[in-house]
Every structure is written in structure tokens, then in C-alpha cells.
Amino acid sequence: MNAVDIDDLTKYYGKTRGIEQIDLTVRKGDFFGFIGPNGAGKSTTIRTLLGLIRQSGGRAQIFGLDTVKEREKILARVGYLPSEVSFYPGMRVRDVLKLSADLHRRDCREMGGRLCERLQLDPTRKVEDLSFGNRKKTAIVCALQQEPELLILDEPTSGLDPLMQREFFQILEERNKEGTTVFLSSHILSEIQNHCTKAAIIKEGKIITEGSVAELLGTGTKRVSIRGSVDCGSLTGVKDLHCTKEGVDFLYSGDMNALMRMASRGDIQDITVTEPDLEEVFLHYYERGGAEYDHSET
């Protein structure tokens, strides 16, 4: 059984597109990244999964349960961290954590206390007095304290300092090793690249690619930068070619020996061959529709 199964999911806000015919599968135990810029449809997808908004078409299941008909059963097994955190006025952190635990009908005091300690969150503080980062930490503890089977995190690190981000991802990785499925929506690509095993990219309400992060990075594709003069017209597998006065820069998925032979015929001061990063993949999908990364062509 998959943790998340989305089939032909569509949401329109009146005539405005939210998401269109999304198909997505997250398997149990995955650490799944959901990438897209603001307005691409990440939050709409998440809000539909959580039953906050009703889809216009298609269906979604979490742990095999329908997100419309069996919402409460699903939410009992899900921890959610929203991108924008708001709490009821006049409450202290410990009151918010207790309210969340009570709504889950669970006693989460021990786990909540441990998480507060790890995230350096003072449970006696009033939520109105908290900084944005500390409010985020409160929401993180709410999402994690009842030890859910699925964590849905919508841009979770905004407001957290780098040390807290590291601690947060450490907690997520521990939970993931224990079997928790993590669905992480973000536009910070390094987060996805460093922590997720699988990812999907959403653009203008549609999933444009999905797979393992390694696949998305294109295991056979390298970024080649050459300073000097070469003639790469004879090479096959060259994409995204940029020629400047100083040299050339391109993505290469062809035979490495052919690349070396071509290089030896030229006048080269320097050559670097690197793995393209996820940001590069993402930008190409967004700026050029992903043609350079269509591996079937290369």
C-alpha cells in the first residue's frame, strides 16, 4: 500500500487553475520532495490531500483511504506543518501542544517535551511573543509529537536558523529511518537534494517530472566547462551549449572518451566536469520546459 496516491487530481478556484490532472505516488517510507515555485500548486495539492479544500476532479488516497470520505481516519495518522503558522491568541506553547494532543486524543507530553528540548523551544512562552522561527518550531513539535506515520511539510524551514534546520532534518531522518513517510514541499532545492530520495517537480499546476532524485539529476549527464578553444561540433550528447570568448559550457551525456579526444585536439587552459545540481535541473524545467533533461534524447 502506498502512503499517498494521487490520481488525476484537479482543483479550480472558480475559473482559476489550482492544479490540473495530477498523478503522484509516494510509497511508504519514502522521503519525498515536492518542488515548485510559489503559485505552482504545491500548497493546493497539500490542502486537497488534507481535506481543507475539495477537489474539482480526480481523487486522492492516503494509506488507501479516500481523502474526502475518510478524512478523520487519515488525519489521525498524519502530522502537518503549514508554511504559514498561526495559533490562537493568549495561549502558551504548552497549551498549543496540549490542544493539538487532545485533538488527537493522545498523551504526547513526553515526546513533546523531548522535541521542545531538541529544538530549544520554551513551552512556557506565550505564542504572541514568539519570533517567526519559534512559532515554526511550535508547529513542528505539534506535527511530530504524536508520532505520525506520514509527515506533510509545507516549506518547513522558513524562519529556522541554519543550526535549527540541521537539527530539524536530523529529526526527520531519524523518523524516516523508523518508517515514517516524509512528504516535503519546498522551493529550496538543496533541501530536496540533500535529504530526499524521490521528488516530483510541479509547474503551473501540473507534474512535469517525477522520480528518484538521482534520476532527476541525470546520473549519466555531466556539466562540462572548458576554458580555451575547442570544436565540439563532432560530439554527440551535447545539450545546453553556451559559447563565450573564454570557452564553452555544456551538458554532456555522450561517450567520455570522445569528449577527451575532442579536448586533446583543442587548446585548453582548464576543464571541469561536474554533476549538475538540482537547481540546474529545476531551472531548465522551468525556463526551457525540460528538453535538455529528456534523457531519451541524449
Partner: protein, 261 residues
């Protein structure tokens, strides 16, 4: 019960302020009655020369020289308006504040059905109104006892019962409205309560506008009618109960299918 308890805690300060304000004003009015009694003949004469204005407040049919006549006018203005504003404000903000303050996302991503959310919030609202009315009634009765007057139990209980029903009606109607709102709602609640109050004043001034009493809950709270008939107007009260039921049903219907942004 978690949501109910949470709502009661959240609304505690507002509840205490409104209850204290209304109870204190009623108490003051009752406590000054013995001093005012001697001047009531002159006051009655003055009011009788004010034409429609006198009729609007039902003062043409009430005897200011008696405690219950005096109380019916004061009770009508203080408990009627105060209670109506509290009930409307509390009802109209109960669901909409979750979206306005963006706490709906917190609440509705927990394993609670929307029917449960509406039910517990409505129960909290009704509990607050009930507690408020019991406290105010107790303080009113205590004040009457303090000035050494015989308590006209039946009339007082009927009047307080009518205002309790008025508050329930306005609260339920506003609660229904609240399910349709996403932003500020206080103006709608206050506006609705004030409009209902003035509709009753207009209905009192001319027979041509008598039909308005069917619409406004102040119609069945008219002290002069209650004292004259010794009962509430069951027709108006039944319409009030019907409006309350429609308001509550609208809240369930809208909120259970609503997109939360």
C-alpha cells in the same frame, strides 16, 4: 469536548466583560428604583406627551410607578440590547475567526470532523449565553431583594426567558452567517442586532409596520405585551425558533463543504 472547552477558554474574557457590564447596569437600575419611584408620575406625564417615541419603547402601556413596569423598560434596553449585541458578536465570529486568524488550518488538520467542529462551537455559544442569562437573572433578583420589593417572579422570568430566546435566535442566525464569512464579521453581527432592535421600534410606532414583529426577535420580547398578556407571543416566538434552527442548519451545511483558505 476539546473544542468546546477551548472555545469557552478563548471567549472567557469577552463573556465576563459583557456579563458584568449588563448585570451591573441592571443592578444599578433596580437599586435606584426606590429613589425614582417618587418622580415616576412626572416622568410618566413627560413620556405620555412624546407621541410615537413613547409608543416605540412601549412606555405608553407601562406603569413606571411599579417595579415591574420600570424594569420592563430598563430590562428591555439593557438586557435586550446588551444581550443581543453579545449574542450576535459571539455567534458571527465563531467560525469566521478561524479563517480570519488563519487558525482553521491548525484546527482542521487534526482528526476532527467539521460536523464536530460546528457542533462543539455551537454548544459553547449556547452555554455562554445560558450562563450569562442565569448570572444576570440571579443578580437582578438579588437587587430586587436588596431594595425590599416583592419579586414579581412570573413577569421577571417571562421577560428574562424572552430575552434568552432572543439571544439564542440572534446567536444561531449569526452563527449561520459566520460559516459564509472569511474576514471581519463584527460589523455584520452588530448591524444585525441593531437593525432588529430598530425594526421593533418602528413596529411599535405604527400599525402599518406591525408585521415587522414577525421578523425581529424583539417582537416577542416587548415588556408591555408580556405584562399585559402574562405570556410570550407564541407565534412570534415560534418564528424566532424557526430562524434559529435555519441559522444553525446553514452553519452545518456551509461549513462542512467549504474550502478553507
Amino acid at each position: 469536548m476539546t473544542i468546546l472547552k477551548h472555545e469557552l477558554r478563548q471567549g472567557k474574557i469577552t463573556f465576563l466583560i459583557w456579563t458584568a457590564a449588563i448585570a451591573l447596569l441592571l443592578m444599578i437600575c433596580v437599586l435606584i428604583f426606590p429613589e425614582m419611584r417618587g418622580e415616576m408620575d412626572a416622568v410618566g406625564e413627560m413620556f405620555s406627551s412624546m407621541g410615537s417615541f413613547t409608543a416605540a419603547f412601549g412606555m405608553d402601556r407601562l406603569n413606571f410607578g411599579t417595579l415591574i413596569g420600570f424594569y420592563a423598560v430598563e430590562c428591555g434596553n439593557i438586557l435586550g440590547l446588551g444581550g443581543a449585541f453579545f449574542a450576535s458578536l459571539a455567534g458571527v465570529s465563531l467560525l469566521s475567526k478561524e479563517e480570519k486568524d488563519k487558525t482553521a488550518e491548525f484546527l482542521l488538520t487534526h482528526p476532527v470532523s467539521r460536523v464536530r467542529v460546528v457542533t462543539e462551537k455551537l454548544a459553547a455559544l449556547l452555554l455562554q449565553i445560558t450562563a450569562m442569562n442565569l448570572l444576570i437573572l440571579a443578580i437582578s433578583l438579588l437587587s430586587m431583594h436588596l431594595i425590599g420589593e416583592d419579586i414579581p417572579w412570573k413577569e421577571v422570568l417571562l421577560m428574562h426567558g424572552a430575552y434568552f430566546l432572543l439571544q439564542l435566535e440572534l446567536a444561531c442566525v449569526c452563527f449561520g452567517v459566520s460559516a459564509f464569512l472569511r474576514r471581519g464579521s463584527a460589523g455584520i453581527g452588530m448591524g444585525l442586532a441593531a437593525m432588529m432592535y430598530f425594526l421593533n421600534l418602528i413596529a411599535n410606532m405604527t400599525d402599518h409596520a406591525k408585521f415587522l414583529k414577525v421578523v425581529t426577535p424583539f417582537g416577542y420580547c416587548e415588556g408591555a405585551d408580556i405584562l399585559a398578556d402574562g405570556r410570550l407571543n407564541t407565534g412570534y416566538a415560534a418564528v424566532g425558533i424557526l430562524f434559529a434552527c435555519i441559522g444553525a442548519a446553514a452553519a452545518y451545511w456551509k461549513y462542512t463543504g467549504k474550502d478553507i483558505h
